[in-house]
């Protein structure tokens, strides 16, 4: 319906989107087309499962739909959506933890699939090992440091967006990300030194 309309996510207010879209249905369609990838990536960053991330993405947009006429009052659709997606994903994660569900470590990651066939097998193996180790290291970080770190790894998210999403100051985001990176670097160095020592 509005495929010809191009608005850069985060730059247009929903009121502006409304003037282009003419209807609530159109606004939501524009929001979906612009932000599905971001919402999905936020959900995946929390849930680490494609299936759960997709469900969380659907749930996020259903929540948006229920906002109805209040949509016009939203100033920054990108951070607003990011906040909803974050809350949906975190809630799902909590529910999973309460039920004792462990998300399947799905190896259907298109990025992993896209690893060049020219790359040597040992390099691929090493890269996969590093990412597995990193994932466990990130999971072991305190929540206070983990949350800003995983959001800041998303290319679409500036420190300001992360701050708005988490409801903390931008300075806090920067310092927590710095601290998280420091911890990860120390641990990775330690692990590398151990593997070289063997």
């Amino acid at each position: 319906m509005n495929e010809g309309t191009r608005l850069v996510a985060g730059e247009a207010t929903l009121t502006e989107v409304l003037t282009v879209a003419h209807s609530q249905e159109g606004v939501i369609e524009i929001l979906v087309r612009q932000n599905t990838r971001l919402v999905y990536r936020i959900a995946y960053a929390v849930l680490r499962s494609h299936h759960d991330a997709e469900d969380a993405t659907q749930e996020t947009f259903v929540r948006v739909l229920r906002y109805g006429n209040k949509l016009a009052g939203v100033d920054d659709p990108k951070t607003w959506l990011a906040r909803i997606a974050w809350r949906v994903a975190v809630d799902r994660r909590k529910r999973q933890t309460r039920r004792g569900e462990v998300p399947l470590d799905d190896r259907e990651n298109p990025v992993e699939e896209a690893v060049s066939s020219e790359a040597r097998a040992d390099e691929t193996l090493q890269r996969n090992e590093v990412s597995a180790v990193l994932e466990s290291l990130i999971a072991a970080l305190p929540k206070k440091l983990r949350e800003p770190l995983i959001l800041s790894t998303l290319e679409e998210m500036s420190p300001y967006d992360v701050a708005v999403t988490l409801g903390i100051s931008e300075a806090a985001v920067r310092s927590r990300v710095f601290r998280a990176r420091q911890i990860l670097r120390e641990k990775l160095t330690g692990l590398t030194a151990q593997s070289h020592g063997r």
Partner: protein, 193 residues
């Protein structure tokens, strides 16, 4: 000195390398793409959801209307019952009382001013409950007992034959007076002796 600078440079290079490695690893951690067609699936789901919301809103309005009707009926019934109850039990002679206040009169004996005790919430509730249980307050104290069989028969006789009853009552009163006078005379003669 040169050694130290060299070490610093090495450490710096090592640090940079570690940073780059960490950046690459973190980028890979976040570099995830949704399966193709997610947007379309989301939009299709939203269309379905919108239809459901429309149906649900109809049901919601129906439910709200039914609930409002029930509330109105219940309120009307309650007010009607309240009006009936008030009509039956309203007593014009009953003096207005301040709830929860009781005057203790035993202070009259020692000459101090009467003490007013404000009862707590619980006591006032208790008081209210006992009052409700006892029923409306009566005008006469002590409360008259229900009539016996003989009294009832007498009352019916009086209502049926009022003249005869009045005559009997007059004769009975005169006889009583005579008896009293005779007794008094007998007392006087006894005291004179």
């Amino acid at each position: 000195m040169a050694d130290h600078e060299g070490w610093q440079q090495n450490a710096g290079h090592r640090g940079d390398a570690q940073d780059r490695g960490l950046d690459a690893a973190l980028a890979k951690y976040a570099a995830v793409e949704p399966r193709t067609g997610l947007e379309e699936r989301v939009l299709a789901n939203l269309r379905g959801e919108r239809e459901q919301l429309g149906t649900r809103s109809w049901w919601a309005w129906i439910a709200v209307g039914a609930l409002a009707a029930v509330v109105v009926v219940v309120a009307a019934m309650l007010s009607w019952r309240h009006a009936n109850y008030a009509g039956k039990h309203d007593s014009p002679t009953e003096a207005p009382r301040v709830a929860g206040t009781q005057v203790v009169r035993n202070s009259e004996m020692n000459g101090t001013a009467p003490r007013t005790r404000t009862l707590g919430k619980r006591s006032s509730v208790h008081l209210r409950r006992t009052e409700n249980a006892a029923g409306p307050k009566l005008d006469v104290f002590p409360s008259p007992l229900p009539m016996s069989e003989q009294e009832k028969m007498l009352a019916s006789y009086v209502s049926e034959y009022p003249k005869e009853a009045a005559l009997i009552a007059q004769l009975r009163t005169e006889a009583l007076q005579r008896e009293i006078e005779e007794e008094m005379r007998a007392d006087e003669t006894n005291s004179a002796r």
